[in-house]
Symmetry: C2
DNA sequence: ATATAAAAACAGACAAGTCTGTACGAAAAT
DNA sequence: ATTTTCGTACAGACTTGTCTGTTTTTATAT
C-alpha cells in the first residue's frame, strides 16, 4: 500500500507550494517533512532522494497543468478561442501564484545541469503545447501552408514564454494581456 | 587602494563564469576563493557578504552587456539593423555559453524573493532594451503611431525573451534564428 | 466480530558533510 | 611605514540521508 498512500500526496502538495514559492534548492528536506506533517523515515520510504521528489513533482505538475488547462478549454471552440485560452490560463496561474514565472522554466533556470530525466518531462510538456497550437492553427478559416502554420506556432510559443518572463519581472499581468492581444491579431 | 585592487577583478571574473554555469546558490564562497586564487579574508575585505557579491556581479554584468552590445552595433545602421543585432548578440552569447539562458532572468527565477536592489538593476537593464527598441522602431520608414510603436516594441521584447527561454530548453540556436526572422518580417 | 500477523507511518537521534562568515598573525606589496 | 593580501583554523548553523525502535493502521483468519 505504497502507491495510494497519503504520505506521497501530502508531500506532493507541500512541495508544489514550496518549490514554486522558494525554489527547489532553497527548500530543505526538513521543511518538507515539517509542513507535510510526515516523518522523515516515511518520506524516504517513498522517495529515495530529494532528486526523486523533484522528478515526481515535475511529472505531477505537468499532468496537473494539462488537465487543468483542458478543463479551462471546455466550452471554448477549437481554433483561435482555444489558443487564446493558453494566455488566459497563464494569467490565471500568474495572478494566483504571485507572478513568479513558469513552474518548469523556473526549474530549468535554477539548475542548469538538470537531470536528463527531469528535463525530458519538461520538454515533453512544452512539446504538448506546441502541438496543440499547430493543430488549432490548422483549423482556422484562413488557410495556411504547413510552413506558415509552423512559423505562427513558433511565434505564439515565443509570445507565451516571453510574456511569462516579462510578467514575473514586472510582477503584473500587463504583459500577458498584451501578448494575448498580439496573438489575437496574428490569428486573424 | 581597494577600488582598483586585483582581488575584486579576479572575484568578478570567477563569479561571472561560475554563477552562469552553476547558478548563484550552487556556487559556494569556498569555490569562489579557490578559483579566484584569493584568500577568504581578502574577499571579505572587499565584499561584506555573498549577497553583496551578487549585487556587484549584476551591476558589472549589465554594464558589460550594454558596452558589448553597443560594440556589436558599431557599423550597423540605426533602425531595423540595430534591432536585429539584438538577436544576433543573443545568439552570439548563447552559443558561447552553451545555451543556459539569459543571465538576468536566471537570477530572478533562481531566487523568487530576490533582494530589491538586485531586482532594480535587472529591471533597469530590461528597460534599457525596451527604450532602445522604441527609439529604433520610430526611425523606421513606415510611419507608426506611438501606440503602434509601443505594441511592436512589446512584441519584440516578448520574442526576445521567449527565444531565450526556448533556446535554453532546446539547447540550440534554432529559436533565436527563428525569432530574428519573425522580427525582421514585423519590422517591414 | 475479534484476534493476529504484516505493513506502514511515526518521532527523533545521529552521521558526515556542507555552508557563510570571523579571527588570527604572518607575509607581501606599495 | 602602512595598507593589503595571505593562509588557515574555527564557530555555528545548516544540509541530506540513515538508523533505531515504537506506534498506528490495515488485512487476513478464525
Amino acid at each position: 500500500m505504497k502507491a495510494n498512500s497519503k504520505v506521497r500526496a501530502r508531500v506532493m502538495d507541500t512541495v508544489t507550494r514550496l518549490f514554486y514559492e522558494q525554489g527547489f534548492q532553497a527548500t530543505g528536506i526538513n521543511q518538507i517533512i515539517e509542513e507535510s506533517e510526515v516523518a522523515k523515515a516515511s518520506l524516504y520510504e517513498h522517495f529515495p532522494s530529494k532528486e526523486a521528489i523533484l522528478q515526481a513533482y515535475l511529472e505531477d505538475a505537468t499532468a496537473q497543468w494539462r488537465s487543468e488547462f483542458e478543463e479551462f478549454c471546455k466550452g471554448k471552440a477549437a481554433g483561435d478561442k482555444t489558443i487564446l485560452a493558453l494566455f488566459d490560463y497563464r494569467k490565471f496561474l500568474a495572478v494566483k501564484r504571485g507572478f513568479k514565472g513558469c513552474t518548469f522554466i523556473r526549474v530549468v533556470y535554477e539548475m542548469p545541469n538538470l537531470d536528463k530525466a527531469a528535463l525530458e518531462v519538461i520538454l515533453r510538456h512544452k512539446e504538448y503545447i506546441r502541438k496543440m497550437l499547430k493543430e488549432n492553427i490548422a483549423l482556422l478559416p484562413s488557410r495556411r501552408s504547413p510552413k506558415e502554420v509552423e512559423e505562427l506556432a513558433e511565434m505564439i510559443v515565443s509570445l507565451y514564454e516571453g510574456c511569462g518572463v516579462q510578467s514575473s519581472l514586472e510582477r503584473s499581468a500587463r504583459s500577458i494581456d498584451s501578448a494575448r492581444k498580439i496573438a489575437q491579431k496574428l490569428l486573424e
